[in-house]
Symmetry: C2
Subunit: 200 residues, 2 copies
């Protein structure tokens, strides 16, 4: 992966962006949800966020770079890895967060727009890939703690477990376009941890 | 060329479409993959399939209706439900089919384009929803047989199991954009049937 990391220049704040980064990210994601990737412009982001266009370009040389930074840096899409004391609890919290991301505005529009746009734009696809890699990295402590507690074998595959759970939510919400039942999260996590096969 | 085929409009088949339905569906899905939903036109389908535009309109009054029919009727996306004799075998066959759909051309382009377009077009979204409902209906015998064999409890939730497995493939291929490892299918199915939790 040869992705350039933003905020590696001199004079960068610790958070790696101009002072109004969050306003810029919010405007970027809102415009993506409203207009799609084709309709997203740095000009539009400047207008909505009230930040000068040249300032935005100084930090992010293209709208693709800006959107990549917004996907991993925006508060709206932030993920706080849970620590409930059990793997079942942590995975339920993670899956609830995915369901909320996909169903609660404004992030629902953002997630679905980003996905739709990524399928048509190789540039955006790179940033969607980074977004998911970033999230997995933040989720790993959940699995490390579960292994330490003896709830998971040491050779468990966190990415597979996340993909089963989060993938089910994406499929149910975005593709099937069905509501998430009340017990969807607990049943999905139980199935992945304990299996659906008959005990006998 | 389409003018020469004008007589096709009289060649109605009992299955509810003109004689050259498969050519029309193929052209529809190819154009969707190449141009996206916005670029898909009944005119373009007529040109590529060699079927008169009025014939197509007679059967499908809009491009949305045509695409809906193509998604569930095209050979390229056809699903033959497996019957391997075991639930593990059947689910592996189903998941292999999903992985092939998502990774092997031409269906991979179709699936990803349809998904991307569905997120922007309420009309297409209806047909994507129908596509997934149709597939689940075809998959149900796998679960009925597993319950009859005692491999699944009678109150098992087929949709949840399908969404865990197929969702993982969608997430891995379309969103993470990572290759599917050789043992992805068998490990995903084992996890869903037997659980990832430590035995102890």
């Amino acid at each position: 992966m040869s992705e350039e990391r933003h905020g590696v220049r001199h004079g960068v704040r610790s958070s790696g962006g101009p002072r109004k980064s969050q306003e810029i990210f919010d405007a970027t994601l809102e415009l993506l949800a409203e207009k799609g990737y084709e309709g997203l412009t740095v000009e539009g982001v400047a207008q909505r966020s009230g930040v000068n266009k040249t300032t935005i370009y100084r930090w992010w040389p293209s709208k693709g770079a800006l959107l990549g930074a917004a996907l991993t840096g925006a508060r709206q899409l932030d993920l706080q890895p849970p620590d409930t004391g059990s793997l079942q609890g942590d995975l339920e919290a993670l899956l609830h967060a995915v369901v909320a991301l996909l169903t609660a505005p404004p992030s629902s529009g953002i997630a679905v727009s980003a996905l739709g746009a990524a399928t048509h734009s190789p540039e955006l696809a790179v940033h969607v890939r980074e977004f998911f890699a970033d999230r997995l990295a933040r989720e790993l402590p959940v699995f490390d703690r579960a292994i330490a507690r003896g709830e998971l074998e040491a050779d468990a595959d966190p990415m597979l477990l996340v993909d089963l759970l989060a993938g089910a939510a994406w499929l149910r919400v975005v593709l099937r376009q069905l509501p998430i039942e009340k017990d969807f999260v607990s049943r999905a996590v139980s199935t992945v941890l304990h299996g659906a096969g008959a005990a006998g």
